[in-house]
């Protein structure tokens, strides 16, 4: 029996993929800042506080990457089931990464 593929509009898929990538980058950046203090200092110098720079980075990456993916139309093979699976996996990895890093390190 073939699985039914749900069609959603291209921009929703593009920004969904962008959210997945942004959340992973968010966790990696949080760990990198903690691991390498000069990075945190450099981010602090950009906006006055490393957390503000981190927030701006996440928001800009989400919208810019989402729009870029939408323009390249490279999401044709991604359906809603796949996107939902990616979202759950990436949230799990991001949350586990943050909790694990700050608990054990």
């Amino acid at each position: 029996m073939s699985k039914k593929i749900e069609k959603i509009d291209d921009m929703s898929v593009a920004f969904g993929v962008s959210a997945v990538i942004t959340l992973i980058l968010n966790t990696l950046l949080a760990i990198a800042k903690d691991l390498y203090p000069p990075l945190q200092k450099m981010m602090g110098s950009l906006s006055g506080h490393h957390w503000i720079t981190h927030a701006i980075f996440d928001i800009v990456i989400f919208f810019a990457l989402g729009y870029f993916i939408y323009l390249t139309k490279s999401t044709k093979t991604i359906n809603s089931d796949k996107l939902v699976t990616w979202l759950y996996r990436c949230v799990f990895v991001s949350v586990a990464g943050l909790i694990g890093w700050f608990f054990f390190v």
Binding site: E6, K7, I8, D9, M11, S12, F15, G16, A19, T22, L23, N26, T27, A30, D34, G48, H49, W51, I52, H54, A55, D58, I59, F62, F63, G66, N79, S80, D81, L83, V84, L87, Y88, V91, S94, V95, L98, I99, F102, F103
Partner: protein
């Protein structure tokens, strides 16, 4: 005074974002031809309240938290900062980004006829609700960490 206002208003906006996400979840589960407008309002409400939580929480975190952090680290619950605040300040970006994503899906798809879009909205709003509740809980631990630290300082001054 402003510090007290900010410390109470930012979790309040977080709670409103959670309530809006619950509203969106319920509207999505009952998506039909007549609730498209409410779906869009709910999705935009989640994003709006989450951004307000970011702005007010960020203002408090950047301006007033450094002094409180020093007190917490010298108190009996240093983990309130070392673990709970460190996780909370970065975990918050997950529901924030997902909240900004919701209006895109809800505005560009007819949820009553598109099962795929419904699945995405249900997943995203559920994640936002769960993580935001965790963040609210972490905030309570940080608050208690500061309370016990100030209590210890006060007892030290009396001796």
């Amino acid at each position: 005074m402003l510090s007290n206002f900010l410390v109470f208003i930012h979790p309040a906006f977080g709670v409103l974002a959670i309530l809006a996400a619950v509203w969106l979840l319920v509207e999505t589960l009952n998506a039909n031809a007549t609730n498209g407008s409410r779906l869009r309002k709910a999705a935009w409400s989640v994003a709006f309240f989450m951004v307000l939580a970011l702005l007010f929480g960020g203002q408090w975190y950047v301006t007033y938290y450094p002094a409180e952090k020093a007190v917490i680290l010298n108190g009996p619950w240093p983990f309130a900062h070392n673990f709970f605040m460190e996780v909370k300040e970065h975990l918050f970006f997950i529901p924030l980004i997902l909240a900004l994503y919701l209006p895109v899906v809800v505005s560009r798809n007819k949820l009553n006829s598109n099962i795929g879009a419904r699945k995405i909205v249900i997943a995203v709003s559920s994640i936002i609700i769960g993580l935001s509740l965790l963040i609210e809980g972490a905030g309570a631990v940080i608050n208690e960490g500061a309370t016990v630290a100030y209590k210890q300082m006060h007892e030290g001054e009396q001796k």
